[in-house]
């Protein structure tokens, strides 16, 4: 089977789910697919989905790699808040834009390093290790902003949140670029396979000569890095750092995006592209609910119902059953459906 065919098959369930959701939204809101150029950039609901989904998409990139190592990073939402706060306070205290970005990304890397060392060196379970920063992180962010929303007016920083490049909003350009870079990094080198090996069996990988601690730490650092970029975008978008609310519960959305993307929480095989599709599925649901005009009391119920539906469709049991029926229909070539 060709490479593209293989990828296509891997991403097929996510594409179908996304198409169904977009179809449903366009029934509820006919102007959904309208795109126009306004102020030199594309403008429309589809662009909103790509744009608003940027933080979760970025978090999902890092989360995918962490989950592939059989870990989990609960701290990403709090790291977003910390980095947003750091960016805002750096720019308001007079640092230049490049310095601000460097400091902020550095803080994100430090957060990742902290998580990574707890997991890889001290051997603390990932869910507990990252819970520490999840709880403490928001407090740190509040300390940086003194509990208030720290606003800024630096055009350069604001551009990252609401400027546009090639007709696309900056956040969209950033997450797509980040996604491609990470996907290339893990798939064009042996890195991806090593990560999967660690996720499947850490002990065996170590014995086989993989430097497990370095890989694990690198995975959490990547996650911290992605969270810091997401934090910068979230703060730049509203021109202020909201320590209480920035990235609140987004760690759960990021994990959900990875799960919808079909990566197992037990580690091993992973797909960054599928997780990004998962993030877009989540955002399509969010935007769709807003456009459809349902009363807000229904938001969470609708979201939950759609997600349960997607997860049921992906469940191995159900796929096994479906495969069984399709096999009995198409009896002559049973080998085909086994390829999965």
């Amino acid at each position: 089977m060709s490479m593209i065919g293989l990828y296509g098959k891997r991403l097929l369930p996510q594409f179908i789910a996304l198409a169904i959701i977009l179809g449903l939204v366009s029934i509820a809101f006919p102007g959904f697919f309208n795109l126009q150029i306004q102020n030199g950039r594309l403008y429309g609901s589809l662009i909103d989905i790509l744009n608003r989904g940027a933080p979760v998409a970025l978090l999902a990139i890092g989360m995918t790699v962490v989950i592939a190592t059989k870990g989990i990073d609960l701290s990403v939402g709090a790291v977003m808040a910390i980095c947003g706060a750091v960016a805002a306070s750096a720019i308001t205290s007079g640092y230049s834009l490049p310095a601000t970005l460097l400091i902020t990304v550095g803080v994100g890397v430090l957060c990742g390093l902290w998580n990574g060392i707890l997991v890889a060196v001290l051997d603390i379970q990932p869910i507990i290790a990252t819970l520490v920063l999840m709880v403490a992180g928001r407090g740190i962010a509040q300390m940086v902003t003194n509990g208030a929303i720290l606003t800024f007016n630096d055009e350069g920083l604001i551009f990252i949140g609401s400027g546009s490049l090639f007709g696309l909003p900056m956040p969209v350009v950033i997450w797509i670029t980040a996604g491609i870079l990470v996907a290339l990094l893990v798939r064009r080198t042996a890195l991806g396979m090593l990560i999967e090996a660690v996720g499947v069996n850490r002990r065996a990988s170590t014995l086989a000569g993989v430097s497990t601690p370095v890989l694990l730490i690198a995975a959490y650092v990547l996650s911290g890095l992605c969270a810091s970029v997401a934090g910068i975008i979230a703060a730049a978008d509203i021109r202020g750092a909201d320590a209480n609310n920035a990235g609140l519960w987004l760690e759960l959305d990021a994990i959900l995006a990875v799960v919808i993307g079909g990566t197992s929480l037990l580690g091993g095989r992973f797909s960054v592209a599928a997780s990004l599709l998962g993030a877009m599925i989540i955002q399509s649901i969010n935007t769709g609910i807003l456009l459809s005009g349902f009363p807000p009391e229904f938001n969470l119920i609708i979201k939950a119902a759609i997600i349960v539906f997607i997860l049921v469709l992906q469940s191995p049991k159900l796929q096994g059953t479906l495969a069984f029926f399709s096999r009995s229909n198409a009896a002559p070539k049973p080998a085909e459906s086994k390829a999965k």
Binding site: F29, G31, Q38, N39, Y43, G44, S45, D48, R52, Q142, N146, G147, A148, I149, T151, S162, A234, D237, I238, R239, G240, D242, N244, N245, A246, N286, T287, L290, L291, G293, P295, P296, E297, N299
Partner: protein, 320 residues
């Protein structure tokens, strides 16, 4: 029993003799929820300022959003024998016991900003804002401003199910009743945050013909309005002129927007809950006059005519 009562009365009287002459020698314990929002920080600042103004010794305890910390703080205030206790209760239930202890010690308790589900005899009074009234003031402003012209309103609600969201919606709708020119065409929750306010407003603009069908925005708090104003600008419309913006809370940033002509009106949720509480307390200590069980703070309307830049400067330092 009677003897004990008489004795405790005597203690109170004695206390009055010693501290009643001026409020200056009074010690008041204040148990604050924590720093959950900018408004909360401003309330803390203003409370400290008001105490200083009156020469009252304020003992401040930050509960970090935990009721157990507040109960501990109250017990320590009682042990220290303060003259009065102010509490901004983090939750409504579970206060009976500790309030009873304060009552037994004859220390009056005043609730700030929120109320509790406890017997009214357990506290002296509650100083709060009327959330329904706030929504009502915002609605009235819109009714007066549109003056009978047809106007489609979009509403950014607070967190679904929270009492400010329910009450501010109710008050606004009551004000609009009987004015058929005003119609709420869309209403969604923006979770009281800037990010969600912006995101939801973006979808409102798309859904209502690029915003051309929208004449006014009502946001349950200023933060959502600030987010929505950015969304309106990015859609190529002028907030404040193309779309009227009215919101509630009166945080400093909305005054900046008002000074720039991008927001039209805001209803103040005053951070000065302590001022009226101190006044009631002083009156009580002076001649034993019990205040009413509920003291409503003023819900003041600010518009662009109220020198928003000046208000911004005045509010900026309060810690919002």
């Amino acid at each position: 029993m009677k003897f004990i009562k008489a004795l405790s009365c005597a203690t109170v009287l004695a206390g009055c003799v010693f501290s009643g002459a001026s409020a200056a020698d009074m010690t008041v314990g204040f148990s604050q929820i924590g720093s959950e929002s900018g408004w909360r920080a401003a309330e803390t600042t203003v409370t400290k300022q008001e105490a200083e103004k009156r020469g009252i010794d304020l003992k401040f305890a930050d509960a970090q959003q935990k009721q157990e910390n507040q109960i501990k703080a109250l017990r320590s205030f009682i042990a220290q024998g303060v003259d009065a206790i102010f509490v901004a209760p983090v939750v409504a239930t579970g206060w009976d016991e500790v309030l009873g202890e304060a009552k037994d010690a004859n220390i009056p308790v005043i609730l700030l900003d929120r109320t509790v589900d406890a017997d009214k005899s357990l506290y002296m009074t509650a100083v709060t804002s009327d959330l329904v009234h706030e929504g009502n003031v915002a609605g009235k402003w819109l009714v007066d401003t549109t003056a009978g012209k047809p106007c489609n309103v979009v509403e950014l609600q607070g967190t679904t199910g929270s009492s400010p969201a329910i009450d501010r919606k109710k008050g606004f709708e009551e004000a609009l009743k009987g004015h058929d020119n005003l119609k709420i065409v869309r209403s969604q929750t923006g979770d009281f945050t800037r990010t969600k306010g912006k995101e939801v407003m973006e979808s409102f603009l798309k859904a209502e013909n690029g915003g051309k069908n929208i004449c006014a925005l009502y946001a349950h708090n200023d933060d959502m309005a600030v987010g929505a104003i950015q969304a309106i600008k990015e859609a190529g419309l002028k907030p404040g002129t193309d779309i009227l913006v009215v919101s509630i809370d009166a945080v400093p940033d909305i005054f900046q927007a008002m000074a720039a002509g991008e927001a039209n009106a805001t209803v103040e949720l005053t951070p000065n809950m302590a001022g009226p509480a101190f006044d009631a307390l002083a009156a009580f200590k002076k001649d034993g006059k019990e205040p009413p069980k509920w003291i409503q703070t003023e819900s003041k309307l600010y518009t662009q005519a109220d020198e928003p830049q000046k208000v911004y400067e005045a509010k900026k330092g309060l810690g919002y």
